[in-house]
């Protein structure tokens, strides 16, 4: 694959971030809307960086599960926040890649000099979900609304059925396959022979790492309490292989099914935001730069007819970005591979180690190789924290930037996030 080295120019700096603790579905945030959570998260960021009444270049955020009335979700959140009302905003939506994509969009505008500062974020609630009227009822109502005569109206009303009272509930399923994301992941897990034990090991480590990070105060300047929560509600510091072993598989079929509610992320509510800026903007305010966003890449795979796994796109995106930057997979101090499912992380790493996958699917002469597991998700990831879809990117960018900053200058981190629709968003941060 032909790649061009980009001309090194201005890079966007990550100044910091804020998120609310992630809550399990229908729990602490059951009454909170996406707008409530995003507004609270922005206000926390404003308080942390003294942005009260300030105008930033742009606020970019989104939600995966979104009410039709929230067409201008991010702008509405800005108007309800302590940012200047003159701050422009727009929504993006790229499934679970939303938050990272938002950060890339803000960073690109900063790199181009179109804005000096910006906030990228995301929010999702599976509790305050956008129920819609039944599709058949919707058609009747549209017909009724456009009816011009009494006869037309009566004709439209004849289409009413009691069963149409059942609402359309958003499902975590692929429209083109009808399979839940977990079912897709189970297919991939089987294909790559990902065992139950290694999935449970990754899960335990995620909980332990996140708990340890909380205990040493790592999240003190990354998380603001909300509605009574101070830590992610899904976090189980006492998670163990024994406890996880008792769980029955929920995705996949037959005796060799491996994916449980423990080694899959639960439905979660939450929001996150990241402050990005030019170095000059940060210097003017005396704000330290944690890291720079060096590069980003998206990829997509044909999971419908092409025989590739739904969540495997990051495996394709990463080598493209590495080639462009002249880097190898081993040139990183930290790896943040989003734990949609433990098996997804493991399958992705196994694919990069696999000569035939790397040759035939990625078109590489040699496999990308393995990564040092001690550098993987060292402060926990989505299995422990939870995964409010659009909020995960912001959680990872802010956390990784802080990790790189603490490790010292010249350190590098890789972010890999898989998304519905067979997509992936990946990025490189450097301190």
């Amino acid at each position: 694959m032909a790649t061009t080295r980009p001309v090194p120019g201005r890079r966007a700096a990550v100044i910091g971030g804020n998120r609310i603790p992630f809550a399990r579905s229908n729990s602490a945030y059951a009454q909170a809307s996406n707008q409530d959570m995003l507004t609270a998260t922005l206000d926390g960021l404003v308080a942390r960086f003294g942005l009260q009444g300030e105008q930033v270049g742009e606020v970019v955020a989104g939600a995966v599960l979104k009410h039709a009335r929230d067409f201008n979700l991010t702008r509405e959140a800005v108007l309800g926040s302590r940012l200047s009302a003159a701050t422009p905003a727009y929504d993006v939506q790229q499934a679970c890649g939303t938050g990272l994509e938002a950060a890339v969009l803000v960073a690109n505008k900063i790199a181009l000099g179109q804005i000096e500062s910006g906030i990228a974020g995301g929010t999702d609630t599976t509790s305050d979900a956008p129920l819609a009227v039944n599709e058949d009822l919707r058609r009747v109502l549209i017909q009724l609304n456009s009816a011009k005569t009494l006869g037309d109206r009566l004709k439209a009303l004849r289409g009413l059925r009691p069963g149409q009272l059942a609402p359309e509930i958003p499902r975590n399923a692929e429209p083109r396959t009808g399979l839940a994301m977990g079912d897709h992941a189970a297919i991939t897990a089987k294909e790559w022979e990902i065992g139950r034990e290694e999935q449970d090991e990754l899960t335990v480590r995620s909980h332990q790492n996140l708990a340890a990070a909380y205990d040493r105060g790592f999240f003190d300047d990354l998380v603001t309490p909300y509605l009574g929560l101070t830590r992610d509600q899904n976090l189980r510091p006492d998670s163990s292989m024994e406890k996880l072993a008792t769980l029955k598989p929920v995705f996949g079929e037959g005796p060799d099914a491996t994916m449980t509610a423990g080694n899959s992320t639960p439905l979660t509510d939450g929001a996150s935001a990241v402050l990005l800026a030019s170095d000059e903007w940060a210097a003017e305010r005396g704000l330290p730069v944690l890291a720079h966003l060096v590069d980003a890449q998206t990829a997509a795979v044909d999971y419908v007819h092409g025989g590739e796994g739904l969540l495997m796109a990051p495996a394709y995106a990463v080598p493209v970005m590495l080639a462009r930057q002249g880097l190898t997979l081993q040139d990183f101090d930290f790896y943040e591979i989003h734990e949609a499912f433990a098996s997804t992380v493991l399958a992705t790493m196994k694919a990069w180690e696999d000569p035939s996958f790397c040759k035939e699917r990625l078109g590489l002469d040699a496999p990308l190789g393995s990564i040092d597991r001690s550098k993987l998700n060292v402060n926990g990831s989505s299995l422990a924290a939870g995964h409010p879809f659009a909020a995960t990117g912001g959680r990872i960018v802010a956390m990784l930037a802080k990790m790189l900053h603490e490790a010292g200058p010249g350190r590098r981190g890789l972010i890999s996030i898989c998304a519905a629709g067979g997509q992936g968003v990946v990025a490189i941060l450097e301190s």
Binding site: A32, T39, A40, L83, T224, P225, L227
Partner: protein, 284 residues
């Protein structure tokens, strides 16, 4: 001066009924009695319901008007008592002043205390102030003062002149438009407990001399402040005067104008142009 500490909020429906039945033959001076509740925990679900009706976002601090909902039942209990000189039915809420000394977290344990003071002469009767103080951890965090007018009533000898004028500037017409539906009173009654019949339906309002149900003044105030979310100082005085009743349903506009780091505001009827509420927000 005696302070009675209650373990639970009194039932407002029962209080309104008792106040109506014992309305006649009241008089004399204000009682010295105070009512209090200690260690009150706010119910997150109730705050969420209140926030939804008043259009506040669900934030990690209580809506600035929410402590009024906590203290109001105690104030009604004071007024419903036979010893209170004015009859509760017929009292008109003409002014409400809130001083929030700092933002209050939803998990804070709150001490509430209410009392009545400033029995005053008014050109069309007498006014009385129902006051409330809310403390957390021994420090006062919120103060409320509701001024009620009793038409035709008379204040005792030597009472001061009523103070009901809020010093708000004349504002240009607002662009924020609310279509206030006819169930606005019932909705606010559900989340505030203020089941005064004049707010609930046309029929019950007529029984008390109003042509239609009227919106709760405190709902109008809350919604106006909710519209300024993110633009209010954490420590602030919010002082509003309630002018013409807001009959339900109505379409009204909210006008806002910045004044230093505060605001002037007015809620005005689209048809008649009459002010329903004028108010000021000033940093403390």
């Amino acid at each position: 001066m005696g302070t009675t500490v209650l373990d639970a909020p009194p039932s407002m429906a029962a209080l309104f009924a008792r106040a109506a039945l014992t309305a006649r033959g009241r008089g004399g001076d204000l009682p010295d009695a105070r009512l209090a509740r200690r260690g009150v925990a706010v119910d997150p679900a109730e705050v969420a319901a209140y926030a939804r009706v008043c259009r506040f976002p669900l934030a990690d601090t209580l809506p600035v008007t929410y402590p009024h909902v906590l203290t109001f039942p105690l104030q009604v209990a004071l007024m419903a008592d036979r010893g209170f000189p004015l009859a509760l039915p017929g009292l008109v809420h003409v002014r409400n002043r809130i001083e929030q000394l700092r933002a209050i977290g939803p998990g804070e344990s709150l001490d509430l205390e209410v009392w009545a003071e400033r029995f005053a002469r008014h050109r069309s009767g007498a006014t009385v102030d129902l006051c409330a103080s809310v403390s957390a951890g021994g420090a006062e965090v919120w103060r409320g003062r509701s001024t009620y007018l009793a038409r035709g009533a008379s204040a005792p000898e030597g009472a001061p002149e009523a103070d009901v004028e809020v010093d708000a500037a004349d504002l240009a017409p607002g662009t924020i438009t609310w279509r206030v539906p006819d169930d606005a009173g019932r909705r606010y009654a559900t989340v505030s407990g203020d089941v005064n019949p004049i707010h609930l339906s046309g029929l019950t309002a007529k029984a008390f001399g109003y042509k239609r149900a009227i919106a709760h003044g405190m709902w109008v105030k809350a919604r106006a402040l909710a519209a300024l979310t993110g633009r209010l100082p954490d420590a602030a005085t919010v002082d509003v005067g309630f002018r013409k009743p807001l009959f339900l349903p109505s379409t009204v506009t909210l006008a806002t104008a910045p004044r230093g780091s505060g605001w002037d505001l007015a809620v005005r009827n689209v048809k008649s142009g009459a002010d329903h509420l004028v108010g000021v927000v000033r940093p403390l």
